[in-house]
Symmetry: C2
C-alpha cells in the first residue's frame, strides 16, 4: 500500500539479498522519493536496474550518496570502514547513515569516527534472510513479521533513530533498540554459532570418502539437510561476521563445546538418563519460539 514517503532520496549501497529486498520493500510501500542503488560489482548494478529494484544505479559510491537524506550500507561488514571513508565527504549535512550488518559494535567503531559532524549514524540489523545471495534473490516481504534491531550510540539524535525505526516498522518489521555490545552477544548464540556449526558439520561430510558423500546427499532428509541450507549462506558475509564478532563467538563456542563434551561422555558411558533429560528440556525452547510466533 502507498504511504507518505519517509525519505526524499535514499542510497542503498550493496545490491545483494538484503539490499535488493529492502529496495523492493521501500518502493512497494512508497517510503522513498527516489531510490539510488550502488554496488562495486557492475554485474549487480546491471541486474538491479534490469530487475527494477532502484530508480538509478552505478558503481560510484560517492555519487550515489550525494543529496541523499538516508544512506544504507548493505555489504559484508568487513567493507564498512573503507565504505565509510569513501562516502563521508559526499554525505549531506543532516543525512542519516544506517546499515544492515549482522555485527554492530564494529559499526560504531569503524563507521562513526569517519562520518562528518551533523551526519547521524543509526545502525540496524534486520533479522531476516535466506541462503540465497545476489540482487535476484531479493523479495519485498522478506522483513515482514521479523525483528529489526537498532543499536544507536547513547548520544545519537533521537529523531534520527525514530525515522529509521519508522522505516522498518513500515516494511512490516518489529523494532527493538539495544546496545551494540548486547546485540553482538545475543546474535552470537542465535545466529553466529548456529552458522559456524552448520558450516562445520557440512565440511565434516565433505571430508568423508567420496562414496559416502553421495549417500550423505541421498539420505540428507534425516537432519543433515537443514544444516546444508544454513551452510549455503554467503561465504564472504560470514567470514566477515566471524572476524568481527570474535570474542562473543569464541565465548559461546566454549560453552557449546563443554555441553557437547558432556553429551559425548554420556553416550560413551551409556548414561541414558542424562541424554533423555537434555533431550526433554530442549523441547521447552521450541515451544517458546512457537508461542512467540517466530517458528
Amino acid at each position: 500500500m502507498e504511504q507518505t514517503p519517509l525519505f526524499g532520496r535514499v542510497a542503498l549501497i550493496g545490491m545483494g539479498l538484503i539490499g535488493g529486498s529492502l529496495a523492493l520493500a521501500l518502493r512497494q510501500h512508497g517510503l522513498v522519493g527516489r531510490l539510488v542503488g550502488a554496488d562495486h560489482n557492475p554485474d549487480h548494478v546491471t541486474q538491479a536496474l534490469a530487475l527494477g529494484l532502484v530508480d538509478e544505479a552505478g558503481t560510484d559510491l560517492g555519487l550515489a550518496v550525494r543529496g541523499c537524506d538516508l544512506v544504507v550500507l548493505a555489504t559484508p561488514v568487513g567493507t564498512f570502514a573503507e565504505l565509510a571513508a569513501t562516502i563521508a565527504p559526499h554525505c549531506m549535512p543532516g543525512a542519516i547513515v544506517s546499515d544492515v550488518g549482522s555485527v554492530k559494535e564494529l559499526v560504531l567503531r569503524e563507521i562513526a569516527p569517519r562520518l562528518p559532524p551533523g551526519v547521524h549514524l543509526v545502525p540496524a540489523h534486520p533479522i531476516a534472510g535466506t541462503e540465497h545471495s545476489g540482487p535476484a534473490a531479493g523479495f519485498a516481504t522478506l522483513f515482514q513479521g521479523r525483528w529489526c534491531i537498532l543499536t544507536p550510540a547513547a548520544d545519537t539524535d533521537p529523531s534520527a533513530v525514530e525515522r529509521v525505526r519508522a522505516l522498518w516498522l513500515r516494511v512490516g518489521s518489529m523494532v527493538e533498540v539495544m546496545t551494540a555490545e548486547h546485540h553482538d552477544r545475543v546474535l552470537a548464540i542465535t545466529s553466529h554459532l548456529p552458522h559456524l556449526i552448520a558450516y562445520t558439520i557440512v565440511d565434516t561430510a565433505v571430508g568423508l570418502e567420496e562414496s559416502t558423500q553421495s549417500e550423505v546427499i541421498k539420505f540428507s532428509a534425516s537432519g543433515f539437510r537443514d544444516f546444508t541450507r544454513i551452510a549455503a549462506s554467503d561465504p564472504i558475509m560470514w567470514r566477515d561476521i566471524f572476524l568481527n564478532n570474535r570474542e562473543a563467538v569464541l565465548e559461546i563456542l566454549q560453552r557449546f563445546t563443554e555441553d557437547l563434551t558432556a553429551l559425548q561422555r554420556a553416550i560413551r558411558r551409556g548414561e541414558g538418563d542424562t541424554l533423555q533429560e537434555v533431550f526433554t528440556r530442549t523441547r521447552g525452547i521450541r515451544r517458546g519460539i512457537i508461542d512467540a510466533k517466530q517458528a
Copy 2:
C-alpha cells in the same frame, strides 16, 4: 489409489508418528487386508482407533501379531529386544517381521536370534519424519519421495525382502538395500550427529541467564530456529538411537570436533582465508542435495 493387497493381515507395533503414518499410507493404497495396531500405551490405542488409523487395536502384543503375515515394529529401538521376545511365540510360520528403527545393526543382533525359524526378518528404515510425536502426528504422505533403506542379513529369503521392498515402493518411497553396518555409519553423519548437535546448541541456550533466553527466542529466526525444530524430536527415540549406535556416532563426533576446533583457531587468529575457503566448499553439498531433489 486402490491396489492389490500385498499382505493379508498386518500388525503395527507402536502407534507414534511413523506407525500412524504407515497405517494411513497402507490403507490409503489398499496394501493390506486387515490392519491391527498395538501399543503398550492405552492412550495411543484409543487415539489410533478414534483416528481410524487401524481396523483393530489393543495393548496385547502377542494377540496383535497372531495370524499376521507382516509385523512391523515402530517403537524406540531400545524396546526391540523385549518386543521380539514377547511376539516370537505368536508369530505365524512364514511371517515377515520388519521395523522402522533408525539404528540397524541392533535389529539383526537383538531381534534375529529371538525369532523362531521360518520367520523372516527384513529390517527397514524410512528416512522420513517430523519433530512431532504421537498417533495424531501421522499423515499418509510422509514417505512419498523419501528413501527407505532395507538392511536384511545376507542369508534372508529374497522373496521376503522383495515383499517389503514392494510395500515401501507402493507408499511412494524409493528403496535402497545395504548392510546394517554401512547404514549405521551413513546415518551417524546424516542424522544422528545433526540431532546431537542441535540438542546441544539448544541446551547451551537453556543454560544462559533467563533474560538472554527470552531474546534467544525472540531473535531465533537468524539460524537458531532450525536447530530448535530438530531438537524438539522425541527424547526417548533419540536416547535409544545414541545408546545403540554409539561407536559410529562417537567416531563421526570426533571428526566434527576436530573440524570445529580448526575453525575456532582460524577465528581466534583472524584467518579469513581459511574461513572463506570452508564456507565456500560447503555450498557444493547443498547443490548436490538440490540436484538430488532432496532439498
